[in-house]
Amino acid sequence: MAHNESHAASASQELHHEPLPVKVYLGVFLGLLFLTFVTVWVAGFDFGEFNMIVAMAVAVTKASLVVLYFMNLKHDHDRLNGVIFLMGLFFLIVFIGPTMWDKVTRGEVDPQRGQAAELPAHGAAAQQPHPAEQPK
């Protein structure tokens, strides 16, 4: 796959690529505008816990359109580029997950006794940024 002979014929000094049709780009553009309208419209309703999920679902759809078509991942010969992008996303999740889980589970174990500590309900506790508990 790798060739590094010095100076091949001049035909291989230049690229020969077929672009996507204009209507693909136009379609993606209009789709993005439409989804922007959707996300603003939907923000006017209150779905409670689902507000974030709906907003993120729309954002992920818009992002997918940009990544697949504008950034050409859908038609890229090198699958590696897509793998790289997904790996970045994956490790971001690896970062977020345990970090959030740590905060959520803090104070659940009494360091002295090793049992669940007697604490007020999570909501109230979570709003208090309390100093870190030091095990004695």
């Binding site: 796959m1 790798a2 060739h3 590094n4 002979e5 010095s6 590696l80 790996m87 970045g88 490790f91 690896v94 970062f95 345990p98 970090t99 889980w101 740590d102 905060k103 959520v104 589970t105 803090r106 104070g107 659940e108 174990v109 360091p111 940024p129 100093p131 870190a132 508990e133 030091q134 095990p135």
Partner: protein
């Protein structure tokens, strides 16, 4: 490896080449604006060795202070600055770039059979970015230095009045140098392998550098944003990590260690690659279990991202998270152990030559194993609660970082010295220096395991009198180390003038860089090599090593 490439006849290869990368072009501009990876590697080498010297000076001063239980030469705040600078310089200015930027830049393209890395100008940029970062660090040094520990924990790093912000910016900038190098290496390995060099015909150094580059690219940006956030904390008081403003200092530690744990693999995985090269050459055998060793580098890179919380067991992190991080941390020992077993298996029935690079590799096997095993004590939640912030931890990471990476780096420097400079160094002095370093290292740091288990805390400038004997012993060890390093520097520099002409392949090694002259020509090879076999092939008749005593 078996190649067909137009090389001059053997006699000519053994002579000093007329034209090579040192004399190809002349004048300071031809170095300052070079895009030759070998020249860039050389410049990096000089820079990181300077950093190593600086970090070493701080280390000597730290150990001098610890000679007596009370103040010996400096007060508390200065002591804090000394160990902080020792750590920061050693980690960011030396260890992270060392093998990849100095040896990797030089040899990655050559081992690939390529003319250069994929993006030569980006390579030069990465060097200048390193220099700028180093200058910021030096600026910080002369304008109040820092006393936060290399870990910059909040809230102290927010409130202390030492020159934290320039040092944060220094590390931020150095991170970009690291990212650019990693980027270049990955693209080079994907795109510039010589004809016939499949992935599994690559030397193991390249697998190690590939895995390292992946870690660099995924982890370093998180460090960048972390340092930027702390700088913004100091300047704008943004409050994210500051409990006084409603922020969470443990969040800082999550951010910091998400980079810094993988960072330790950035520092040690290239060393593994170097050891593979040296062990193969000086046992004249292919590395046992090549694919296992190759994949283990990737496995370490992957698993290393899941374990950062083992630095935070006593930080206030939830106990559940602590348990999970502890459990996962044990897994990273598995691929590491695979490597150690495989190198040992390679030795069995090998034709072992105890030349100086091999001495360093053997010492590495002993010292790194100790470091790795003690890592398990640290990974176990129950024991770490007692060992955390004691000298046990200090000893553990010095065994892997110094006993491991530094010794591998010095070994690699010896191994590739003839290729880079065209000269052999004095082998007898090299063996003596290796022995001195081995003794000095273990006197300094084994003592610290004992200090740690007996309760001596780290980052303390004074201590209870009962620890003095051990501290004294450790300090004497640091002097032995200093002598060893100075000896190495002396005979290596002397060899530039007086060393025997090395010839193309003084060790009888098999990888591609040894199939061209020493020092190599600018374009590396006269013709593109074509590869037919794996990297470690030692036919009996050819490639007989010369003993350069």
């Amino acid at each position: 490896m078996s190649t067909t490439t137009a090389t001059p006849p053997a006699a000519e290869m053994d002579r000093w080449p007329e034209k090579h990368y040192w004399n190809a072009t002349k004048g300071w501009k031809s170095w300052a604006f070079t895009v030759d990876h070998k020249r860039i590697g050389m410049m990096y080498l000089i820079a990181i060795l300077t950093a190593f010297f600086l970090g070493g000076v701080f280390a000597i001063l730290v150990r001098l202070e610890l000679l007596t239980p009370q103040q010996t030469i400096v007060g508390a705040k200065t002591y804090n600055q000394l160990f902080t600078l020792h750590g920061t310089v050693m980690v960011f200015l030396f260890l992270v770039p060392s093998i990849p930027a100095a040896l990797g830049n030089f040899f990655l393209p050559m081992q690939l059979g390529a003319k250069d890395v994929a993006f030569p100008k980006l390579n030069l940029l990465s060097f200048y970015v390193y220099v700028v970062g180093a200058l910021f660090a030096i600026w910080s040094l002369f304008h109040g230095a820092i006393d936060t520990g290399w870990t910059f924990y909040t809230p102290y790093s927010i409130t202390t009045n030492t020159a934290v912000t320039p040092m944060l910016l220094a590390a931020f900038i150095l991170g970009f140098s690291s990212i650019l190098t990693g980027l270049n290496f990955i693209v080079s390995i994907h795109k510039l392998r010589a004809p016939g060099m499949t992935w599994f015909r690559m030397p193991l150094l390249l697998w190690a550098l590939y895995a390292t580059s992946v870690i660099q690219l995924l982890a370093t940006p998180v460090l960048a944003i972390t340092l930027l956030l702390v700088a913004m904390e100091r300047v704008l008081g943004i409050g994210i990590f500051d409990p006084a403003m409603g922020g969470d200092p443990v969040l800082y530690q999550h951010f910091f260690w998400f980079y810094s744990h993988p960072a330790v693999y950035i520092m040690v995985v290239p060393a593994f690659g170097v050891i593979s090269e040296i062990v193969a050459t000086f046992t004249r055998r292919p590395i046992f279990g090549y694919r296992f060793v190759a994949f283990s580098s990737l496995a370490i890179a992957f698993i290393g991202f899941f374990v950062w919380g083992h630095h935070m067991f006593v930080s206030g992190q939830s106990e559940f998270a602590g348990m999970v991080f502890s459990f996962l941390s044990f897994f990273v020992a598995i691929p590491t152990a695979v490597k150690v077993f495989n190198w040992t298996a390679t030795l069995y029935k090998g034709s072992i030559q105890l030349m100086s690079p091999m001495l360093y590799a053997l010492i590495f096997l002993v010292q790194f194993t100790i470091g790795g095993l003690t890592g398990l004590f640290c990974a176990a939640l129950a024991t770490d609660v007692h060992l955390h912030d004691t000298y046990f931890i200090v000893a553990h990471f010095h065994y892997v970082m110094m006993g491991g990476t530094v010794f591998a780096f010095i070994g690699g420097l010896h191994y590739w010295w003839p290729k880079m400079t065209g000269r052999m160094y004095n082998e007898k002095l090299a063996k003596i220096a290796a022995a001195i370093l081995f003794v000095g290292f273990n006197v300094t740091f084994f003592t610290q395991f004992i200090l740690g288990t007996r309760g001596m805390p780290r980052r303390y400038y004074n201590y209870l009198p009962e620890y003095q004997r051990l501290h004294g012993f450790s300090t004497v060890g640091s002097w032995i180390l200093a002598v060893g390093f100075l000896l190495v520097a002396a005979y290596l520099i002397a060899s530039l003038r007086n060393g025997k002409v090395a010839g193309a392949n003084p060790w009888g090694a098999s990888t591609l860089e040894w199939q061209t002259a020493s020092p190599p020509p600018t374009e590396n090879f006269l013709d593109t090599p074509h590869v037919h076999t794996g990297p470690y092939v030692y036919p009996d008749e050819e490639l007989v090593p010369r003993r350069a005593a």
